[in-house]
């Protein structure tokens, strides 16, 4: 039973709840990142605030908000203020198209149908790529407007890096697009109905790995964290930022991490589906959450283990390895689909 009023109410609830949940996840992602970093390095990580230091991120946010907001006098002030928003807002928008449960089924909530997606539209995958591309502007503009040579170098690196990795990303998700026959993420998850061997990670393993590697570059995390390479560029594009403006970049990084993990799990790991059909009694959002957490853990694991690449090495990986591989993956997928049917 479909009721336009109920749909609108549900939509508003979802649109409000989703960012709140994401922000909470970010807070705990930061906490766990620091905790894991500690464990990897033989330390204990944050311990003071809350049980086992679990409220550390909230303390950090209050600290950041209460700090003086310094804007360099010679900076391009409008762009300087705008850049954090450009990095921060697009990160959230992608969550609108990610299904976190079944969509278009029977009435399941108070006699109304509750779709577990904010917006199911046909070019959802393109939205993900587009928002990733807009996020680059945040970093590049931050680097440019700070009027600091370290920032400029960071912005320069970020621009080149993110744009070249976006190509590989686009080609690798195209393989999934061909298999599902749709760019709508809801259809893509529907295409992976069944147990975990029906998911796209088996036929699209090459594309999946490429997307994952490229997303590390997109997220500016080690080994591809050249834009803010601490040991080289102090803090790269973030050098001149302080207080909550800096915090917004930091939040954007983690929101992006959650979003990319959600995208990778939606495209390759069956989205909200359980690994076995009988396990679907546990609701979809929980499965999606588990998959996101798993991928985030891998991101953290990589970050605290691996040494950073050099700028030209990073570019040659992007252009000479990932891009040809992703194109080959696309071509092979297309041939197989047209032959098998």
């Amino acid at each position: 039973m479909s009721d336009p009023v109920a749909e609108l109410v549900f939509l508003i609830i979802k649109a409000i709840l989703m960012p709140v949940i994401i922000i909470l996840m970010v807070a705990f992602a930061i906490y766990f990142e620091r905790k894991f970093a500690g464990f990897f390095a033989g330390r204990v990580g944050p311990t003071y605030l809350g049980p086992w230091g679990s409220l550390q991120s909230f303390g950090d946010v209050f600290k950041l908000i209460s700090k003086e907001d310094v804007i360099p006098s010679r900076s391009d002030k409008l762009v300087f203020k705008l850049a954090p928003y450009i990095a921060f807002v697009p990160a959230f928008l992608v969550m609108a198209v990610i299904p976190f449960g079944s969509v278009g089924g029977e009435a399941n909530l108070f006699g109304y149908r509750f779709d577990y997606v904010i917006s199911s539209f046909d070019t959802g995958l393109v939205l993900f790529l587009a928002m990733g591309a807009i996020g680059v502007y945040g970093v590049v503009l931050a680097g440019w407007s700070s009027n600091n040579n370290y920032s400029l170098l960071g912005g320069l690196r970020a621009g080149a890096q993110m744009i070249s990795y976006e190509l590989a990303m686009g080609f690798s998700v195209a393989g999934v697009m061909l298999m599902a026959g749709s760019m709508n993420l809801v259809d893509i998850v529907d295409g992976q109905a069944g147990a975990f061997w029906d998911w796209y990670w088996i036929p699209q393993i090459v594309g999946g790995v490429i997307l994952f590697v490229a997303s590390i570059a997109e997220l500016n995390r080690t080994p591809f964290d050249l834009a803010e390479a601490e040991q080289e560029l102090v803090a790269g594009h973030l050098t001149e930022y302080s207080g909550m403006r800096w915090g917004m970049f930091y939040l954007a990084e983690y929101v992006n991490m959650i979003v990319v993990s959600a995208i990778v799990s939606t495209l390759y790991l069956g989205g909200w589906r359980a690994p076995f059909e009988s396990w679907n009694v546990i609701p979809g959002p929980i499965w999606l959450f588990i998959k996101i957490c798993f991928l985030i853990f891998i991101y953290m694991w990589i970050r605290w283990t691996i040494i950073r690449y050099r700028y030209n090495q990073l570019m040659s990986i992007g252009w000479k390895v990932l891009l040809p591989l992703s194109i080959a993956n696309l071509v092979v997928t297309a041939i197989v689909i047209s032959v098998v049917g």
Binding site: A41, T222, R308, R310, Y311, N312
Partner: protein, 431 residues
């Protein structure tokens, strides 16, 4: 200085194969390799100047380099030092020889006993003091502990400079074992002031032998683990191999010594070449590598740490009995435990503390191998208890001045790796 090509006996190459069996790259080949790795620059490109330091996360103190960049490539670099200048050499002129020892601690504060040692060796040469055997062995032991702690710290910081922070704290944890030994031995963790003219300040405390053996049994296992990380990590190899090539000729030209010189295929180690302390009596190998790049500097230091463990073990095994401080009333301090109930010791103590050792006229230069390279001490005395002039030629100063030659034409990220690989401490550089 002899190159490794004619001193096979002193060095064995990687895998224990005798050096003369392996074809090593000549300086010309190394230079060609360096040129091949370079990114060609456009002419008349607009340069960007970047002031790196003195407050920069990886400038190891307050080193500052003014870089001219073409994109990511360093066109020219101009080092600026002196931000940590404390006038140590001038201060030395107003202190007695005993009082100078704590000042030398603050030169290279990472390996402060090595600095004490260098000064004491020079002062003893000037005064003609003979160090008793036990004192020489304890010195050797403490010096090698310094080398261990210095190289472990170096390993952590230089891998951190390549981009991972995890390794840094892990190395600090291991350095802690060595610092604990120092705490037990000298009472201090960083600036020990353990050297004395004519020997060392204290005898080995009870239980030190056992604890020290435990550490040197345990550390090589850890080091093997780290070496595996270094040798097997593809990103590390990509970042370190053929980066920052500095041939033996370049090293001579810039007076770059220590592990950097040994990584360029020169088996130069003052512990072997001009032995002092107990080094002639212990057995160890000089670590030599031949590719003169950042990677080889890592390998050299990893092997040096193992050799240090070997030396420490031999020192503990063969530690002779007898006094640890020369019983030379004219030049060395009295034993603290005798001062209050032995009149001769009390007089000696008063004499040394209030007047200082009476040193004849003359000048002396003594050079020893400290963890970072060769440290020379020049003392000119015009009689009396205070030197007329003291000059320290510390390795970090020369390594710091060679940075332009090392980094020009490299990329910014490589500059950090290269700067870390030559091991500069600014306390040692600025004096």
């Amino acid at each position: 200085m002899a190159t490794a090509h004619d001193t096979h006996d002193a060095a064995s190459g990687p895998g224990g194969v005798p050096v003369h069996m392996i074809a090593h790259p000549t300086p010309e080949e190394l230079r060609a390799r360096k040129a091949a790795g370079r990114i060609r620059l456009e002419r008349n490109a607009e340069l960007m100047s970047l002031s790196m330091g003195p407050q920069h996360p990886s400038m190891h103190g307050v080193y500052r380099a003014e870089l001219e960049l073409d994109g990511e490539v360093i066109v020219s670099a101009r080092p600026e030092i002196g931000n940590l200048h404390r006038g140590v050499e001038k201060l030395c002129e107003h202190r007695t020889y005993h009082q100078i020892i704590p000042l030398t601690d603050r030169l290279d504060y990472i390996s402060s006993f090595a600095m004490n040692h260098g000064f004491c060796e020079a002062a003893e040469k000037l005064m003609g003091v003979e160090v008793p055997a036990r004192g020489r062995y304890i010195r050797t032991l403490a010096h090698e502990l310094c080398r261990l702690s210095n190289h472990i710290l170096w390993l952590g910081t230089s891998i951190m400079d390549l981009g991972t922070q995890t390794f840094f704290t892990i190395c600090f944890r291991d350095r802690e074992y060595v610092l604990d030994l120092f705490e037990m031995l000298t009472g201090a963790r960083l600036t020990h002031s353990f050297g004395r003219i004519g020997g060392v300040a204290k005898d080995l405390p009870d239980g030190f032998d056992h604890r020290c053996r435990k550490v040197i049994d345990f550390l090589p296992k850890r080091l093997a683990e780290y070496e595996r990380i270094i040798k097997q990590n593809r990103i590390f190899i990509k970042r370190a191999k053929n980066i920052g090539i500095f041939t033996s000729d370049d090293c001579y030209a810039w007076r770059v010594t220590g592990p950097t010189l040994r990584a360029a295929g020169v088996a130069r180690d003052l512990r072997k070449d001009e032995p002092y302390a107990a080094y002639p009596e212990v057995e160890f190998d000089v670590a030599v590598e031949y590719n003169a790049d950042v990677y080889d500097r890592f390998l050299v230091r990893m092997r040096e740490m193992r050799e240090s463990c070997k030396i420490i073990r031999q020192c503990l095994d063969n530690l002779p009995d007898g006094p640890f401080l020369a019983p030379d009333a004219g030049h060395s301090l009295a034993l603290k435990k005798n001062v209050l109930h032995d009149s001769a010791a009390m007089i000696q103590n008063f004499y040394q503390v209030f007047q200082g050792p009476q040193v004849p006229k003359g000048e002396v230069y003594r050079c020893i191998e400290v963890p970072k390279g060769e440290m020379g001490v020049y003392i000119r005395s015009e009689g009396g208890a205070k030197p007329a002039r003291v000059r320290f030629t510390t390795p970090s100063f020369y390594h710091g001045q060679a940075v332009p030659a090392l980094v020009e034409g490299e990329m910014v990220a490589d500059m950090i790796a290269i700067f870390a690989s030559v091991d500069v401490v600014l306390g040692d550089c600025d004096k």
